[in-house]
């Protein structure tokens, strides 16, 4: 699990609706670009790479049910435009098959799409002075740092929204709570919110740092292998223009 998907119901509605709107703009722009030749020919590659991201989650590469997704590697292969569509398709399919997050597909698409696009940009920046394996590993690591930072930023935005806590701190089964402690809780919301954000960020960074290291090593091995066997796939001897 190197990608922290935001589950349903933890973020305020305005935030995930805004995320859906922003993602829709990116997806529409990417779809228009992908619809034109020669990019349309990349549709099977896009689909296969998106499927690869889903399937690789089920591989026992890391013991203990730790899922990897190789978003940066997929981004390096696809390029930014196709990556946005692939990120949307992956998140939608994962939500449909029980991974949760159907309301935050837009936000998760932005996070994953950014990570994939960052992987593509950073790999192209690093490959001029690093070996493909190192460039791939470093690009994957930094892309995941960017993706996780973006996720923490989005959650922070949701938690810090004035007057709108994402969750009621006191909920009684069958009716909303109306007792003095609720008022006290309201009065202390600001400090509680800051505490929650800090606690959440520390937790995510602890879990994330393990994932970044692991996935960047795996990405480096895979990129090195691809660079030897099919270098055009990672843009080292370009046959297909990046989208």
């Amino acid at each position: 699990m190197t990608h922290l998907h935001i589950p349903d119901g933890v973020l305020p509605v305005w935030l995930w609706l805004s995320g859906a709107a922003v993602a829709a703009v990116f997806i529409t722009a990417a779809a228009r670009r992908m619809s034109r030749p020669p990019f349309a020919r990349r549709l099977p590659l896009l689909s296969m790479t998106a499927a690869f991201m889903i399937v690789v989650m089920s591989l026992p590469i890391v013991p203990g049910g730790y899922d990897i997704q190789l978003a940066a590697v997929a981004g390096i292969i696809l390029g930014p435009a196709a990556a946005v569509i692939a990120a949307f398709v992956v998140n939608l399919l994962l939500a449909l098959i029980g991974h949760g997050g159907i309301t935050v597909v837009g936000l998760n698409t932005i996070i994953m799409g950014s990570e994939m696009a960052a992987g593509w940009v950073l790999f192209r920046a690093f490959r001029s002075f690093l070996r493909p394996a190192l460039a791939g590993g470093a690009a994957a690591f930094l892309a995941m740092v960017i993706g996780t930072g973006l996720m923490i930023g989005i959650v922070t935005l949701g938690l810090a929204a004035v007057g709108e806590l994402p969750l009621e701190h006191i909920v009684v089964v069958g009716r909303a709570a109306h007792h003095p402690s609720h008022l006290a809780a309201r009065a202390g919301e600001a400090s509680l919110r800051n505490l929650s954000i800090a606690r959440f960020a520390v937790l995510v960074l602890i879990v994330g740092s393990f994932g970044w290291t692991l996935e960047s090593v795996i990405s480096a091995i895979i990129v090195r292998f691809i660079a030897r066997v099919k270098p055009d796939l990672v843009g080292l001897a370009p046959v297909h223009e990046p989208v």
């Binding site: 349903d8 933890v10 399937v55 949760g100």
Partner: protein, 241 residues
């Protein structure tokens, strides 16, 4: 995610003959949308539990193994746990609300896909998506099965060659990463061939999708009523609070 989650859900959706399987995709999408909207609106744990139990009961009636579905739909619980730890205020209601929302929403979606073959769901969704995204959705889902098969063979082959050993986790990591790289190369080659086959078969940028999204009131009324009912209850509870 288990390697077989996608495959088994596809089997359930295509092999079932229950009233829920016979209902139109539009009715079931509306039901899932109603449940998810109720999950988002409500802060009532009892309603979340009711939605969850309704989905499980519907699946049991439709002869889809409810325990397996519950296991599949429990995946978001891990991510929810991070939010629970981050948000916990010492009460039981906060974790119940976070877990309840995550599980009820996921189970609603699994109920949809476990009783509706994917071309029918994606055919409906494609009406609201750019055509290339709709096609990517179809092709990706189809490719998942192909890759699952290849990945299963790949893991077996790595094991047979003693590439996976309990005492050597770093060697395992290297071997499986290399095997994953090979899988990616095979996937790339396969995608090229797939495209050529599609073109030969007349593909011109449009994949045909089933047109019929409603099946009639006899089968569609119940799913629509359940979704609308859950949403109405959520709105009433929220209004009264």
């Amino acid at each position: 995610m288990s390697q077989f989650d996608v495959a088994i859900m596809d089997y359930w959706s295509t092999s079932g003959r229950s009233f829920l399987h016979r209902a139109g995709p539009a009715a079931k999408v509306l039901m899932a949308a109603g449940f998810v909207a109720a999950v988002v609106i409500t802060r009532n744990v009892a309603l979340l539990a009711a939605i969850y139990v309704t989905c499980v009961a519907l699946l049991a009636v439709a002869r889809v193994p409810p325990l397996k579905v519950m296991a599949i739909a429990s995946y978001p619980a891990f991510f929810a746990l991070l939010f629970v730890i981050g948000e916990w205020d010492g009460t039981w209601q906060t974790p119940a609300l976070i877990f309840g929302r995550a599980l009820a929403a996921a189970t609603s979606l699994v109920t949809l896909l476990a009783t509706t073959p994917y071309p029918r769901v994606f055919g409906l969704l494609s009406r609201f998506l750019p055509h290339i995204v709709g096609e990517a959705l179809f092709l990706t889902y189809k490719s998942v099965f192909m890759l699952l098969d290849m990945a299963g063979n790949m893991v077996t082959a790595t094991r047979v060659r003693s590439g996976l050993q309990l005492r050597h986790p770093l060697t395992n990591l290297r071997n499986l990463s290399l095997a994953t790289g090979k899988l990616l190369i095979h996937a790339f080659d396969r995608s090229e061939r797939e495209y050529d086959i599609m073109v030969v078969r007349g593909y011109r940028g449009q994949i045909a999708a089933p047109e019929r999204i409603w099946q009639g009131w006899a089968t569609d009324a119940l799913p629509v009523a359940l979704g609308a009912g859950a949403l109405a209850v959520a709105i009433i509870i929220r209004w009264n609070a």
